[in-house]
Symmetry: C2
Subunit: 189 residues, 2 copies
């Protein structure tokens, strides 16, 4: 079902002609590429943030509560709720990273983990993907590995309370929000 | 309901001590800030991408179809589906930008527009917000303003077809996916 303004299979990829580092910082690496667009036009300064691959875990307890993290986010200068999430290390899979973040940030362990899908935060300019997971029947370990750079308050919410937060525009971190909505659907709420 | 690892209201903001431009490009402006964390620790190179404010429109036709755009996204090197979306200009509101993008990218016009909420794509490092809208009863104008840098194929999907795409991990742009899930819920699908 389509109005076929452009025939199927006619959206074409671009060609990378050359590439250099515009910002060679280990914590924020930006490439400047010379690219040939599908139209043939050449742009000599297309910037791409080589952003980290992220794993995000929706933790759901046996008694039916989501485990949320409240943290300060500097770039938007706001204290926000989200799920445990973080960068995937070189020696781990995204699923392993999601389980590790759950344990470090929230102090919970997962048994079975199921994938919810993948999302791209800003795919014109950011190369990294977010891999989203749901873990049912998570259990508290009694400890978490507090990162002094990222103090975290752990909060438990029922599905009804999480829906109320979403509808009140109080749960706004995009990858966590995608994961929340997919998990709520999957869990039947 | 909380396990109170940190008391409520105890997550603190950081203080910006100084700021300079690390990448002063008009299309990709990155700040380097010296910041004092809540712990008192000072970091002298915290990078923030001053990313654009984005408006995203979920268009829904009178006969019950979503209007999607298929476009190439260079940073992830993938042809992807999403809703009409783009940067908010200085002289327009986010809602006006959403209506403009709907007309330019998809060739549809909106009557009544309702907000779906706001999301932050990567709030530790990106300053920009995404403002999400739903427009019911959108109508084709018969023309769109093709941008040679961003060829767009417009595709119509029923709610059931959109759910199938989401479940098959074929609708992955984060802000569009958030907006899709909120719109599907609101419309009763």
């Amino acid at each position: 079902m389509s109005d076929n303004t452009i025939p199927e299979d006619q959206i074409k990829k671009w060609e990378k002609l050359s590439s250099s580092l515009a910002l060679p910082e280990p914590w924020f690496r930006v490439r400047k590429d010379e690219v040939r667009l599908a139209s043939g036009k050449v742009i000599d300064d297309y910037f791409v943030w080589e952003s980290p691959t992220i794993a995000t875990m929706v933790p759901f307890t046996e008694d039916g509560k989501f485990v949320l993290c409240e943290q300060y986010r500097y770039a938007v200068d706001k204290i926000m709720y989200q799920f445990p999430a973080g960068g995937v290390g070189k020696s781990e899979s995204p699923e392993e990273a999601a389980k590790r973040e759950l344990e470090e940030e929230a102090g919970y362990v997962a048994e079975a983990v199921e994938p919810l899908g993948d999302s791209a935060a800003y795919p014109t300019k950011m190369s990294g993907w977010h891999h989203l997971y749901l873990a049912k029947n998570v259990k508290p370990t009694g400890e978490k590995h507090e990162d002094e750079n990222e103090p975290t308050r752990v909060v438990l919410k029922t599905p009804e309370e999480l829906w109320a937060m979403i509808n009140a525009n109080e749960f706004q971190v995009a990858d966590s929000l995608v994961a929340a909505l997919l998990a709520l659907k999957k869990l039947g709420y």
